[in-house]
């Protein structure tokens, strides 16, 4: 059924339809509406879950970990500072191999205080062992939450779903809501082999000597590798049920492109519009939206960009002292594989708007210039 809803509510709907059992969350702009809505739904009995009104995000993640360790389906949502405050517990969830799904509204890190769109918050969690999805529409948010549990519970890794502050979180748009029966069919109850269970008492996470730790890391990486296929499979199954396809990367008009723009989040959607305009001007430009960056879809990217002449990455984030992170990771993945010149742009940090024209400017710049470049600051005021 089609409805209009804000991106944030698409997230809470995603959680509700996934029948999450324990929610522990803490308010932060621009995520607040997710939490408010869920606390209402739970209070009203529309969702049979326990909502723990924790005193911080650190505790939110810890509570999700505890709940998930008992075999319950756990959910939380946060943003920026809140996500950063969870950092230690993100590693915990990852290494404890707990299939928690979390929504993060991408917001710039302080100081100065900023509540606006910026991916540095979630990308600086890229090494914590979470799968990471960047959604670019409210529909994507809702669907990814459901698919997230499906995948997480198979590979025993948590999933982080991020999307841009305001540009998505506070934007009302049309969303097709799947029926709960359909979701139930898609997403069976979670019942893990190893869990906190008085009938099978085990300690979890004890001291792990050099003899074993290495192998646990190895197994985690194995799970990440496996996740690539599981994500594809889960996406296909979802498509069968709903007609909506979700992949690790979403190419748009890339087949015959001279230049492929590599994008993510809301910029990726605006880029589709820019690509149409550029094509109308006779410029062979495509857009490759990276939807999943953990596990990193190296093969899937290579498939799309193999024949292209040029690449341009647009990053709404930066690893200070290096470059944009999508750019960094893309180039690393392409190394020893292809040698297509990459120009890398930073744009939209701290909520700076990235307009169609901005994207066209970057595309035109990349079309004109043959030299690769690590770091071009689009529109910086000097």
């Amino acid at each position: 059924m089609k409805k209009t809803m804000m991106g944030n509510f698409a997230a809470s709907w995603g959680a509700q339809l996934s029948r999450v059992q324990v929610i522990a969350a803490y308010p932060i702009t621009p995520q607040t509406l997710i939490v408010e809505k869920l606390s209402e739904i739970v209070a009203d009995g529309e969702l049979d879950a326990k909502f723990i009104k924790v005193e911080s995000e650190h505790s939110a993640m810890a509570a999700c970990i505890g709940a998930s360790a008992t075999g319950a389906r756990a959910y939380t949502a946060t943003s920026a500072q809140g996500l950063a405050l969870m950092h230690e517990m993100l590693h915990w969830a990852g290494l404890a191999r707990l299939p928690i799904v979390m929504t993060n509204v991408n917001r710039a890190m302080a100081p100065g205080w900023s509540i606006w769109a910026d991916q540095n918050d979630s990308l600086s969690q890229r090494d914590t062992g979470w799968m990471q999805i960047y959604a670019s529409s409210a529909q994507d948010i809702l669907d990814s939450t459901i698919i997230g549990y499906k995948v997480s519970e198979q590979v025993l890794l948590p999933t982080l779903i991020s999307f841009d502050a305001f540009f998505l979180s506070h934007t009302v748009e049309v969303v097709d809501m799947p029926d709960i029966e359909l979701v139930d069919k898609y997403l069976p109850p979670y019942n893990p082999e190893y869990k906190l269970d008085v009938k099978d008492p085990r300690s979890f996470g004890a001291l792990t000597a050099e003899e074993y730790y290495y192998e646990f890391r190895y197994k985690m990486q194995e799970a990440m590798d496996k996740a690539v296929d599981v994500i594809k499979e889960a996406g296909k199954e979802y498509e069968k049920l709903t007609g909506r396809a979700y992949k690790l990367v979403h190419p748009y008009r890339c087949e015959d492109a001279d230049l492929i723009l590599v994008t993510s989040g809301t910029i990726a959607e605006t880029t589709n519009v820019a690509v149409d305009e550029l094509r109308a001007e006779g410029k062979k430009v495509g857009n490759l939206r990276i939807r999943v960056i953990r596990p990193y879809p190296k093969k899937e990217i290579l498939e799309v960009i193999k024949g292209v002449k040029k690449l341009a990455v647009i990053d709404r984030n930066i690893s200070p002292g290096y470059s944009g992170i999508f750019s960094q990771e893309l180039k690393s993945a392409l190394y020893n594989e292809v040698n297509i010149p990459v120009r890398s742009y930073i744009a939209g940090l701290g909520g700076r708007d990235v307009k169609i024209q901005d994207i066209k400017d970057m595309a035109n710049d990349a079309l004109k210039n043959d030299s690769p470049n690590d770091l071009i600051w689009k529109g910086v005021k000097l």
């Binding site: 190893y194 300690s203 979890f204 996470g205 004890a206 192998e215 646990f216 197994k219």
Partner: protein
Amino acid sequence: MVIKFQKNDKPVKITGAKDMPPMPAALGSMLQNKTGSWRNVRPIIDYEKCIKCFICWKICPEPAIDIVDELPVINYDYCKGCLMCMEECPKDAISYEKEGK
């Protein structure tokens, strides 16, 4: 009455990743770890003096004192030789000697 542990105390064999759970979930019991080797003094119960008050049993932190046939019996596989039992025995029924004598 004998202390019984429901966990299997067989050693866990792990040759590599395939034998391991996805996360560090325990597969066996620390009963494997014979802490008797930590002991440098050995407590000895003099059953002549013992009045079966079981204070020693009650306060052993390992616990390494079993109750067998209504008597306190030190389990030297685990007793670390802290001598708390000796100190607390109301009848001075416990003495010690150096290990490795």
